[in-house]
Point group: C2
Chain length 273, copies 2
């Protein structure tokens, strides 16, 4: 598995045209898919989110069958890997932000080694990013290619040797990690940020919400302030790579709760094994 | 002059590696430079803004001499053209938002025909976009590659046969056009939006501010609400392609003033001919 092996519009390739609007404007979407024994997990949820993004951006892409075959072909033979899918609006035939009606979307499917965990202990430390997420309901929830805020936030994370950074919106609400969604447990139970203003509607977030419903645990999706977080007993993050990841340290404070994360992880393992 | 002729890291090429962070995350910057008789105009201002962006994003690019030579070589022989420069953080050697310390920035220089004006009259119609600009001081002012908001705004512009759309921030302030900066003339004189929260610090905006200073016209950079715009006598837009462009119709209302745009254009022509 090499980061240089990719299928671009179905063909083995390593480069895209420089006029591609994915490069020119970040005009596209992506998905990162966990594959086990050659099988993509939660593919329906990934494709659902991709479809929502395509509709919102008005990108006329419908090659989901080809995409599925390409994902499976790259994942084949790997016990575990991440397959990244990018769909852009395609190459531009002219300058300017306005989409050309004749653009043909580009699809890029690449396979990546399952990351060796950098964790040397059971600690998972999450600091607060000073980089905030701009509010834009037009783009909220989508996994689009405009990711500079996450890039800047992860520069900070690396400098501080944190495992993840918590990000607020420019309106001061708690939204997510730079590469994960976040759940909290307080006196009123389980809660997670609403993502109508910014943030990505993660596939693992959806899996956790479904698992919680299945075991009868209510999850409140709502606006959350930083001040509330001093009161929480448990914090966990979700993405398809980390699964359900308990946080042991949040912005200067040890967090001890593990119970909800463990119950939800067990439910997910039982349902999706 | 073809949209397919580009210099990528100094070599004639038409494609970039798909792992380039410009494509993966919009992790880069661009400039669009007006060249006349083979000479780039306002190159110092373009390079100043590019440098500010590189510093803000912590991209270690310093090949300005090479860039300048490449711009001149593509512009040579063309009476008038646009040269677009993209600088990305370069190809990623691993997955994830965090920049790899060993990434070598990619530079892409392409030459584009001077656009034939689509204007069939002296009208220049500007509608109000329902797509707003997310507020983010970390990225405000920069001409970075995260341009989905502008893409969505121009979809609306095209549907309505407007020449440009006026964009507000998610905070409700007037910021800019989708591809231009904007100036207004009211009872208190000339004013233009502050760009500390969002928007691009345009090169032509800077040229206009310098021209105004040269002829003793004060320009107030400040927060502007939509309500104020019903009172303005003159509106003009700026970018390096349009120069100083008077607006004749703004969101349902004819605008008649031309005086400041003409004085400033004359001053710019006199200084930069």
């Amino acid at each position: 598995v090499s980061a240089n092996s990719a299928l671009i519009d179905g063909k083995q390739a390593s480069a895209v045209g420089y006029t591609d609007r994915g490069l020119q404007y970040g005009d596209g979407l992506f998905e990162t898919i966990h594959c086990q024994q050659g099988q993509p997990r939660w593919l329906r949820l990934h494709f659902d989110r991709l479809r929502r993004g395509l509709t919102r951006l008005q990108i006329a892409f419908d090659r989901f069958d080809a995409l599925q075959a390409e994902i499976r072909s790259l994942a084949a033979g790997h016990p575990r890997c991440l397959v990244k899918v990018i769909v852009t609006r395609g190459e531009a035939s002219r300058r300017g932000y306005a989409p050309c009606p004749d653009a043909v979307p580009t699809r890029i499917v690449s396979c990546h080694e399952w990351p060796v965990e950098p964790l040397t202990s059971n600690e998972f430390r999450v600091g607060l990013s000073s980089v905030r997420l701009g509010i834009n309901p037009c783009l909220a929830g989508l996994k689009h290619l405009n990711r500079l805020e996450q890039v800047l936030a992860q520069q900070q994370m690396t400098h501080n040797a944190w495992n993840e950074v918590l990000m607020l919106s420019t309106g001061g609400r708690v939204i997510s990690g730079s590469m994960s969604n976040v759940f909290f447990v307080g006196a009123q139970g389980l809660f997670t940020p609403r993502l109508h203003e910014c943030g990505v509607e993660g596939v693992m977030r959806r899996v956790v919400l479904e698992a919680a419903a299945a075991i009868g645990v209510a999850v409140c999706e709502r606006e959350i302030s930083m001040a509330e977080l001093t009161q929480v007993d448990e914090v966990f993050l979700t993405n398809v790579r980390l699964g359900v990841q308990s946080v042991t340290w949040l912005e200067g404070r040890a967090v001890h709760g593990r119970q909800f994360a463990q119950r939800l992880q067990r439910q997910i393992d039982a349902t999706h094994s």
